[in-house]
Point group: C2
Amino acid sequence: MTKSPLLVVGSVAYDDVETPHGHRPNQLGGAATYFSVAASFFVRPHLVGVVGRDFHERDRALLAERGVDLAGLETDATQDTFRWGGRYHENMNDRTTLFTYLNAFQSFRPKVPPAIQHVPYVFLANIDPVLQHEVLGQMRKPHFVGLDTMNFWIGGKRDELIAVLRQVDGLVINDEEGRLLTDRRSVLAMGKELQSLGPKTVIIKRGEYGAVLLCHDDVFTVPAVPLDQVLDPTGAGDTFAGGFMGWLARTGDLSPENVRRAVVIGSVMASFCVEGFGLERLLAVRQDEVAARYERLLRYAHIPHAGELS
Amino acid sequence: MTKSPLLVVGSVAYDDVETPHGHRPNQLGGAATYFSVAASFFVRPHLVGVVGRDFHERDRALLAERGVDLAGLETDATQDTFRWGGRYHENMNDRTTLFTYLNAFQSFRPKVPPAIQHVPYVFLANIDPVLQHEVLGQMRKPHFVGLDTMNFWIGGKRDELIAVLRQVDGLVINDEEGRLLTDRRSVLAMGKELQSLGPKTVIIKRGEYGAVLLCHDDVFTVPAVPLDQVLDPTGAGDTFAGGFMGWLARTGDLSPENVRRAVVIGSVMASFCVEGFGLERLLAVRQDEVAARYERLLRYAHIPHAGELS
């Protein structure tokens, strides 16, 4: 396969998902999976992760067909694949984790194959910040490192997370996690404090309400695409990150204007994701649908000049 | 005073407000008060409402100095002014009502003075839908009627609310109220169902996350102005409505593009409101600050064209 500018390190999983619209017991999931599929619209991402002895050949084939390089996807023959079970409540914003079986992920130590240690765009999906740090130690001067995390690490491995954040260029975090990490409530104050921890690009995700980007001095608000129906929010954040990083890696342009575009593309990809269970909608999206929805969001968000006010 | 194109009917109150930033026991408030002050940046609104024997002359003077016409503000000499007490929690989105003393509002029947029954822009702030209906019965073919409501009426006087909505052009409602009224969760589905109840202009407010406008076939997402600090959210929704209606009344232009502008202005005025307790920040705002913040929001929300995507 051709060299690609993007690497993601994170989980590949089988999920058991219940939403008000249905129940899918063995759904291919995991942060690196959603990320890769979203990024595959723009580049051919390298994936570093681990699966177990029960991982289906058809799922490997599905990712490979999308152009995802699986050379860094280990198989642990002594364990099963990571499994997560969750139930979304009526409002689709709250969810209850029913179980988490780390399985193959329990003893996972990411190893970046030498051939891809030079990759310039790196995304550290939500895993133990100690492992995120180890991955960075294996990379050769990446150009842009993005990171996601979660409440569990903010509470349990705060110092380790703070340490790795110093080496990160872009942080993708949700509202609630941002509050835990900074104790700030207003989005601008929170964003500035997150920037002071290291990453000069900070994206605060707000679920169905969209996201706020701070990129150096630039502030950008992007709405979520207004939708008629959300079937399954699983993976939306990872899909957002995959679209965001995929676009940056494809264009190689880190100007604030292009980072705005990347955030819109993340929002667009996430909007497709939630319209179906698991990957089903995302896998059916055509390239022209991405462009069309980008244009739709652009029209939705357009503020006319004020005329006589100014 | 000169004829003005805008009338608001609603409460004038003294509030007892506690937020994490302070406690103000006798703050001038009420929906019609916040609305009028915000609208006064654009027109000289007429206010119809009631106060009690304890209403301060200085508060009457304050509104009159802003150009608010108080000819329709009755004084009930047998009662005190409406009082509301509430406490905002740490997250500033949830609040607990500590007390509601209707006082003069209990037996209030709005009477629109004959001289202003021809006013073309009318806003029915959050009061009993039966009273909202009575007000409309007193008006002579208004050009655009806006309405706000709350959970209490959606639950307790649903049929009466549905009846008045049929005569309304613009509905300003928050997320949660919209869900109660339609049982829809996704913002587009909710907005369309609200349109089917009568108003072709529907604004779904989402607090610190901004708002979504449906205006006939046009869909518009506007972010809240990202702020460093929120001191007191009281009156933000009424201030939004005042800016929105004030702009429409001033321009007399109901094109979807101008309705978008009105929504942005509502968002701008609300952002000033929450930066201080009660009316204190709003009263200090200069006209050029309104224009500057409009431009700021325009820059924040600007989505660059996609370039090679499209």
